[in-house]
Amino acid sequence: MAYNDAYDLPIAVKLLVAGGFGVGKTTFVGAVSEIEPLTTEEVITEASAGVDSLDGVASKTTTTVAFDFGRISLSPSLVLYLFGTPGQNRFWFMWDELSTGALGAVVLADTRRLEACFDAVDFFERRGTKFVVAVNEFDGAFHYEPEEVRAALELKPHVPVTLCDARDPRSATSVLVCLVQYLLAASMTTS
C-alpha cells in the first residue's frame, strides 16, 4: 500500500566518489552538484574487535560517520546523487552501507601519493563494484600518463583511467560520462 502510485517520483541513482583523504572528493562532488554539497551522518554499530573484553561478551561500539553528497537533476524523472566516501580508514566498515545500490564509483587519485587510493581500489574490486580511476591533476604534481598510473595501481586492463581537474565542472562531468559509458559497455557484455 505504501508503495502505490509512486510512478511520478523521480528515479534516484547513486554513484560514489572514493579515494584517499584530501584527494579532492568534496571538490569533485561540489563541481558537478547543482546544490551546495550536503553533509549527512549515519550512526554505525559494529561489533568491536574485543581487545578489552574481560568476560567474553561481545561488545558493540557505535561510530558516527559523516559523508558529503551532491545532486544532479538530469531530468524531471531522473536524479543522480553523488556520495563522497569517508576518507579515513577507520570508517571503512561504513563503505558497505554506502556502496549498496550504487551503480558504480569514481576513484580519485593524486599522483603525489598514489598509495592513498590503494584501499579504495581494493575495496571496489573485492565488492565487484565497477569503477574508473580519475587522476586529479594537482598544480605542481608530476605528470604521469594514465598507463603509468594503471601499472602502479595494478589495475585490470578494462578499468578506465582518465585525467581530470576536480575543480572544473566540465572535467568532473567528463569523468562521470566515462564511468557511465564503462558501466553501459559492461552491461552489454554480461548478457
Binding site: 505504501a2 517520483l9 528515479i11 549527512t40 544532479i72 546523487y81 551503480l103 559509458q181 553501459l184 554480461t190
Partner: protein
C-alpha cells in the same frame, strides 16, 4: 522536544538538544525499507493527529520529492533517525515512498542510457 520561540540563544553549532534517538522513542529500525536515495513526497493527506514535532519537520521537507539523505542533511538528523520518522509518515499516509527499483539487466541498461544522455547534455 524543541520549544518554538525559545531557540534564539542557540546557533547551528550547538547541535540538537535532544538525543537523536529520543525523537524515535528509541527505535533504530524503520518499518519500511528505505535507503539514502529513496525518494519520498508528501501526499497532502493522512492522519496528522499523532504526529510529533519532528514528524512535522520531516513532512515539511517532503513537499517536493526529496531523498532520505537530503532530508537528513537539511534537518541535521542521522540518516537512520530520518528513516524511522519517514516510515511513520508513510504508515499514516502522509508521505509516499518510491517503489524499490527492480534490478534486472534490461532496466538497468535503459537507466544507464538515460544517465549517459543526461550527463552528456551537461558537457
Amino acid at each position: 522536544m524543541t520549544v518554538s520561540g525559545d531557540e534564539s540563544w542557540l546557533d547551528g553549532d550547538a547541535g540538537r538538544l535532544v538525543r537523536p534517538y529520543a525523537v524515535t522513542n528509541g527505535r533504530t529500525t524503520a518499518s519500511l525499507k528505505l535507503d539514502l536515495v529513496s525518494m519520498v513526497v508528501a501526499t497532502g493527506n493522512g492522519s496528522h493527529s499523532s504526529l510529533e514535532p519532528d514528524h512535522v519537520q520531516v513532512l515539511g521537507m517532503c513537499l517536493r520529492p526529496a531523498s532520505v539523505a537530503e532530508i537528513a542533511a537539511r534537518l541535521r538528523l542521522p540518516a537512520a533517525v530520518t528513516k524511522v520518522l519517514l516510515s511513520d509518515l508513510v504508515d499514516c499516509g502522509a508521505v509516499r515512498a518510491a517503489a524499490p527499483r527492480s534490478e534486472t539487466d534490461a532496466t538497468n541498461r535503459v537507466l544507464l542510457e538515460r544517465l549517459l544522455h543526461g550527463l552528456q547534455r551537461r558537457l
